[in-house]
């Protein structure tokens, strides 16, 4: 099993196209950082336009923590595509190349093949998120410095103390990892049915787009299904940036306003991952390899 996992990782990281995702994230984060470095004050002014009349905001608002939050909001919607490019190709790409049949004539079980391939996709996803964290959080802190972070909600503002932020990002990236693994599991599951990688990639993205639209549509008839859509829970990472407050409206350090909801969302995503993985094993074990 470990041998297979190492082989899968070797295959993933031997392909130049794997590094497109790393390049794309570096480019996108760089563009956002560059834009905010040049004209960040206008952006902050625009963000605070509704509250500036009643609230006097002082200090360094545009700091590395806020930049990371902005980057995550903008990019986590697009990262699934980069993950799907690899996860959707893992079985279908091998079927297309003709290597799947050679692989399956070796003394390894199909369950081991699935687990090793998904394990490799998971490691790729985690490395991609670590890369994103390095660029979005640590490089932003280097460029823009540190400070308290303002999190603008619809009808209130959360002010997070600078010393109370780093653990929230660690938790948020952990949650994002679960969300992205759900996408990887879906792409991987769909790749079992196809003999070229375009189909699963397009299908995965289509499902994500449709489910995201359903998750955000404010039409009562769709409300019943929203809790069951994984896309509803993919933005649960934001929950770590909401704090509980005292009677005097003071933020409680180290608190999360609705931790149960965040954990529930993570749990639902984990169930999706397990579901897709079990389905992948079940389908793949029964599949006749005709490619």
């Amino acid at each position: 099993m470990w041998k297979l996992l190492k082989i899968e990782l070797f295959k993933i990281f031997s392909r130049p196209r794997t590094f497109i995702s790393f390049g794309a994230i570096a480019a996108l984060v760089g563009i956002i950082q560059f834009g905010l470095k040049l004209d960040g004050d206008s952006y902050i002014e625009f963000m605070l336009r509704d509250v500036s009349v009643s609230l006097d905001v002082e200090g360094k608002v545009l700091n590395g923590y806020l930049i990371c939050f902005i980057v995550l909001q903008l990019l986590l919607v697009h990262v699934p595509l980069l993950i799907t490019i690899v996860a959707g190709d893992l079985i279908s790409g091998e079927a297309n190349m003709g290597t799947l049949r050679l692989l399956l004539t070796k003394p390894v079980s199909r369950t081991e093949v699935i687990l090793a391939k998904f394990g490799a996709a998971a490691i790729y996803t985690l490395i991609l998120l670590v890369w994103m964290a390095i660029l979005a959080l640590f490089v932003s802190l280097l460029i823009f410095g540190s400070g308290d972070m303002l999190n603008l909600k619809a009808d209130y503002i959360v002010q997070l103390k600078s010393f109370d932020i780093m653990w929230r990002y660690l938790a948020a990236f952990g949650f994002a990892a679960i969300a992205m693994l759900t996408v990887a599991a879906l792409g991987f599951f769909l790749s079992i049915f196809a003999e070229n990688s375009i189909g699963p990639i397009v299908a995965t993205m289509s499902i994500i787009i449709v489910c995201t639209i359903l998750s955000t549509l404010d039409i009562p008839v769709f409300n019943a299904i929203k809790p069951f859509l994984f896309t509803t829970h993919m933005i649960g990472w934001k929950g770590f940036f909401d704090v509980r407050v005292t009677a005097d409206n003071e933020a409680i350090i180290g608190s999360v306003q609705n931790l149960n909801r965040v954990l529930q969302a993570a749990g639902i995503l984990v169930l999706h991952i397990i579901g897709f993985l079990v389905a992948s094993i079940w389908v793949f074990k029964k599949k006749d390899i005709l490619s």
Binding site: K3, S14, P16, L102, T105, I289
Partner: protein, 312 residues
């Protein structure tokens, strides 16, 4: 002696299509077993069932005396295979591909020098570090064979191993198969739709058509050397035909469907006939025994792919 492969009443249905229909055969240790049939006859489906790529609809497969379904891993550790095109990872080099598959083939782990020895066996040692995407089809085929042999398996299953090879490549693979069988005692199952290929290497044959066994047996028996067809081409075929018609070989003459002179004789008589031609001072361009098995093959298969336009 227990057969290496024992297939009993094997069938595979794809919805309404019956790809393999009640097939039974056995392969003995040390055999070069030729698996013949036209395209679509069910050879690849059968081979894929032997390699657990396809689940049989019914029937049983025993390899090395063990039931394939129950002892899959144990059996596959001793099996090497090339299935149709030997596609490998094009973005990796030959030696990387070989190392990768050797790690999961169940054999001992090999160092670079041992991997290079395996590549040398198929004539690829010079290109060991070249990416496979730069390889010709023939080189990929050789690499596929090296991958099949990397863990020193007892049973080698080759599905159309000479597809896409040039004549030299075909001869090399043929010699390699013979060496594996004769010098190394391996059991080899080779499928092909080309009779000429199988005829030169197989000691036992199975001919299938529309998923059914048409005939199985010893290649020498099936060839029937007593009825070998010989085609003669000379500088002046008209004069040569007249000369043969006036000789004792007249009874051997057969109707010709082309400009060549056709005779039927026992294979052992061919050298005698050749001497006689020399005595008659016939200027021979070629004297070629036509594969008698080819006629047999076409006779037992339906010949459905031979549309009118391609008939002699």
């Amino acid at each position: 002696m227990q057969p290496i492969i024992k297939v009993t009443n094997l069938s595979k249905h794809f919805k309404k299509l019956i790809a393999v229909n009640g097939l039974s055969f056995s392969v003995e240790k040390g055999d070069v077993y030729g698996f013949l049939g036209q395209n679509g006859a069910g050879k690849s489906t059968t081979i894929r069932m032997l390699l657990t790529l396809i689940e049989p609809t019914e029937g049983s497969i025993e390899i090395f005396g063990m039931e394939l379904k129950k002892h899959r891993k144990e059996i596959l550790r001793q099996v090497g295979a090339v299935i149709e095109k030997p596609d490998v990872y094009k973005y990796l080099s030959a030696v990387e591909n070989l190392r990768l598959f050797s790690q999961i083939s169940g054999g001992p782990s090999l160092n670079r020098s041992q991997l290079l020895d395996k590549l040398e066996m198929v004539g690829l040692q010079e290109r060991a570090d070249s990416p496979v995407k730069t390889f010709s089809q023939g080189m990929k085929q050789r690499l596929g064979v090296a991958i099949a042999l990397v863990h020193d398996p007892q049973l080698i299953i080759l599905d159309e191993p000479t597809n896409g090879l040039d004549p030299q490549g075909i001869a090399d693979i043929r010699n390699l198969i013979l060496r594996l069988s004769h010098a190394m005692g391996k059991t080899v199952v080779v499928s092909s739709h080309l009779l000429s290929e199988i005829e030169l290497i197989a000691n036992r044959l199975l001919i299938i058509d529309e998923g059914k066994k048409m005939v199985e047996g010893n290649a020498a028996e099936l060839f029937d050397p007593a009825n070998t067809i010989v085609e003669l081409n000379t500088i002046d075929n008209k004069a040569s035909l007249a000369a043969i018609s006036d000789s004792s070989w007249q009874a051997n003459l057969q109707p010709s469907r082309n400009n060549l002179i056709v005779l039927k004789m026992h294979r052992q008589q061919i050298p005698l006939f050749n001497r006689h031609l020399a005595e008659m001072q016939v200027d021979v361009i070629s004297l070629q025994p036509r594969l008698s098995l080819e006629d047999y093959f076409l006779q037992v298969t339906t010949g459905k792919q031979h549309v009118e336009a391609f008939k002699d």
